[in-house]
């Protein structure tokens, strides 16, 4: 029966996605529409889209298994870090809302008046989001493979086609499918949590029993090296999430300032509820199935679901993970294609007639979407490393390239941001291999170096500026 539920629900999901997503080639479309929906995303959809993009399959799987393994440390490293990033968004809020830029690299280069900076940050976004996308493909396909014994190639191609379908329509299609995906995620995750808690007398019994059975999960000693590892992780999450173009573009695309602010205010509550459900699920899983091998995260997740959930709940839970995967992957794909076509290639092949120019440009963007998704699919089969480790590296890279240019003010620099970021990249390549630094240590080191270089450059630049004025 499980197979029947699974296939029927998947097909239903596909049909609803097709109906909800709408047109791929809109009649009145241009790049402002495609990338930012003319900055007219209604408040409700903004909130839904923000939350759906936030919850990818990797954060869900990673958080459940982390909580299963290390308890409250996972909350410290992942939830506090991620939600904490929301506190930094208001620092960019007004500038992002007032800007006419269509992408974050463009906004950064306009802010610092450095055209090369746009290319560098766009290149970084392209590479990082290509890897993120491959992680999403691989994560989801290996789960579906472990849980239902489906062929991995088939599972990967299924998610690849769904992501392509929703991304071809640009941000308008993505936000609509995001709303549906968030609803599905909430239903799936809350249902799974409900099935888990139904095996106990009350939800409150889960933490109480877990405290008795596994007291080590609730012991946080802030002075221990393990805690510092998670505190560092939390700090890195704040830096990387607050520099993530997926969320910054949602601020730009909202219809009104009040709507964007409402999105930033309400989303943490929705996400908090989901994280609470995931926490209960992880803890309940630890009590009911304590002996799961957590060395390989996605297999551990599948094994936990197989042991604690009935077939229908398991299928709906898997569908929720699929929805989480698609809602994040399509936004990542849009950012990657925007970086490639809009920021890196720019307006090449400009034809004099505006209608042709926009048509051709948007057709090329869709071609880029197909190429990037296919590349990501190919990379996902390469089995580069554990997906959580790869995910951490990607986040570190995002922070290294975007955080300081986003949040530091504009100054007269003697050697510009391009030189500062290039030095950072060189340091990564030179030291990462030999020093065996973790992605978090690497990011903090490089950010400190970049900050130092920026200060030196700004001081020298101010002096040179004063001299030239005299």
């Amino acid at each position: 029966m499980e197979t029947l539920y699974q296939l029927a629900l998947f097909f239903l999901y596909l049909l609803i996605t097709v109906i909800v997503t709408g047109n791929a080639f809109y009649w009145k479309e241009d790049r402002r529409f495609f990338f930012l929906n003319f900055r007219q995303v209604p408040t409700g959809l903004s909130i839904f889209s923000f939350c759906a993009t936030w919850l990818g399959s990797i954060p869900i799987i990673g958080y459940i298994i982390s909580f299963y393994t290390v308890g409250e440390h996972a909350f410290l490293g992942e939830v506090i870090g991620w939600i904490g990033a929301v506190l930094l968004f208001p620092l960019l809020f007004s500038n992002l809302r007032n800007s006419h830029a269509l992408s974050i690299p463009q906004w950064i280069s306009q802010k610092h008046r450095e055209p090369e900076l746009r290319k560098i940050t766009a290149g970084a976004c392209l590479v990082v989001f290509l890897l993120f996308l491959s992680i999403e493909f691989r994560g989801f396909s290996s789960i579906i493979c472990s849980m239902f014994g489906t062929n991995r190639v088939v599972a990967s191609i299924l998610i690849y086609t769904c992501v392509l379908y929703t991304t071809f329509g640009g941000l308008p299609s993505i936000v609509r499918s995001d709303a549906m995906n968030l609803l599905l995620m909430m239903v799936g995750l809350l249902w799974a949590c409900g099935m888990m808690t139904s095996q106990f007398s009350s939800p409150l019994e889960i933490p109480e029993r877990a405290k008795d059975l596994f007291p080590e999960l609730f012991r946080i000693d802030l002075l221990s090296p393990a805690s510092w590892y998670y505190i560092l992780g939390s700090l890195v999450s704040i830096v990387a999430v607050s520099s993530n173009p997926l969320f910054l573009t949602r601020i730009m695309a909202a219809r009104t300032k009040a709507g964007a602010m409402a999105m930033l205010t309400i989303a943490p509550f929705i996400l908090g509820t989901i994280y609470l459900a995931l926490t209960l699920y992880g803890l309940g899983g630890k009590i009911l199935a304590p002996g799961i091998d957590t060395q390989i995260t996605n297999f551990a997740f599948a094994s936990l679901a197989n042991q604690v959930l009935p077939p229908l709940a398991k299928t709906v839970f898997l569908l929720a993970v699929l929805a989480a995967c698609i809602s994040t992957a399509n936004s990542q794909l849009l950012i990657a294609s925007c970086s490639a076509c809009y920021d890196l290639l720019g307006d090449r092949g400009n034809t004099p007639l505006e209608v042709y120019h926009e048509d051709r440009f948007l057709f090329n963007v869709r071609l880029a979407i197909a190429i990037i998704a296919t590349l990501a699919l190919g990379i996902s089969f390469l089995e580069l490393s554990d997906i959580l480790l790869l995910n951490r590296y990607c986040f570190s890279f995002l922070g290294i390239f975007l955080f300081l240019p986003l949040y530091l003010p504009r100054k007269n620099l003697l050697f510009g941001w391009s030189a500062i970021l290039s030095s950072g990249t060189f340091l990564i390549l030179a030291t990462a291999y030999f020093l065996r630094l973790s992605p978090e240590q690497l990011m903090i080191t490089v950010l400190l170096l970049e900050f130092l270089l920026w200060n030196v450059s700004a001081l020298r630049g101010e002096k040179a500026h004063e001299t030239s004025r005299l």
């Binding site: 097709v18 489906t150 062929n151 088939v154 299924l158 007639l353």
Partner: protein
Amino acid sequence: MKHPGFEQAIRLILALPSLCVILAVVALAFQRDYARETRLAFETLENIKNPVQNASNVPEAREFFEKSAAAAYWTVQRGKNDIFTSFSLKNGEDFILRLHTKALFLKTLENQKNVIMTGMIGFVIALEIGMFFSYGFTRPIKRLIWGCRQISRGNWVTIPHSWNNTREFTEMEKAFNRMSRELSQWHQIQEQLYRVEHLAGLGKIVAGVAHEIRNPLTSIKLYTGLLEKHVSPEGKPYFFVIKEESERLNDTVKRYLSLANPRAPLFADFSLKELFHWCSTVIEPHLQEKEIRLSLELSPENFSWKGDFSLYQQMMLNLVMNSLEAMENKENGILEIQGLLEEETLHIRVRDNGSGIPRENLSQVMMPFFTTKETGTGLGLSLVYSVVEAHSGNISLDSSPAGTAITLKFPRI
């Protein structure tokens, strides 16, 4: 009511047959697998036939059956309905087995799971192909609509050929472009006709008025010449004002007359370099006064051209004076004069970075007496037009708030 789009229609058209094909393929694969599984189910019976028949009673037979592979396909049935197979035991009892069709169905479904999921992928891919199909159909129509809108605004655009268009759309584009070109020519002819009629009417009036002014003016000029030596030193400044003003009036009358009754051009060879040199010398004081930079470009550097030199002088002077006036209050004004001989056509381009001509005035600037300047006569560009026409050339004007470029093209005579 919002009409459904072409993309939705095409997707629906493609989705339905693709869904049918996918369902048919999946059903065929399913049916084959179901048949294979049924065959397997009966094969498993062969393996248990002897041991079951040798069992002394039903519980013993049942125990043996449940340990065998046949248990996956068959269920023990004690009854008279739905009997598929039965074994007679040693004690004379019947051991009845019924084919477990639900288990068989689910097993087949499990076997065919990847095929069914591949079918779902095929369905989504069919929809994605549908999108690109609809793109191929809708974009040429979108461009055509854009072209029609441009033409309704008076912009005679043509639609460039797209390599990926179908034959029908290519024909449609060709037809549109032909229509656009013909409409443009028709519009030009209409403008010329209007101009001719306008000029003919004006010419009669102007010629009459100019004639009436010219006769007394000739007398004034003659007598001021005779009076010059009799004027006292105190009266000389006033006398010169009268003389200069009558000269100016005479020039104005001449210009009006030349517009009303243009003389036939006297064709002779002249040097373009000489024309440009003359032009730059004449406007030099104006350039210095307004701090405007002049850029002269002639390619090839020196060549002779056949035309009426004095008319060319008149034309160039009017063009550059117009440009200088457009850059009246402009800092870093640049005036570019280019002459280019390309095959058998002479291109003269005068470009400035002045205030430009408002869009709504573009179609009228060549008309006589049309002016937006307080002291203008509205004859400058009109004279230019007459000279170009007299030399069988044509004139094009491109203006924006960043400046104006006037390009003249003359065929070799």
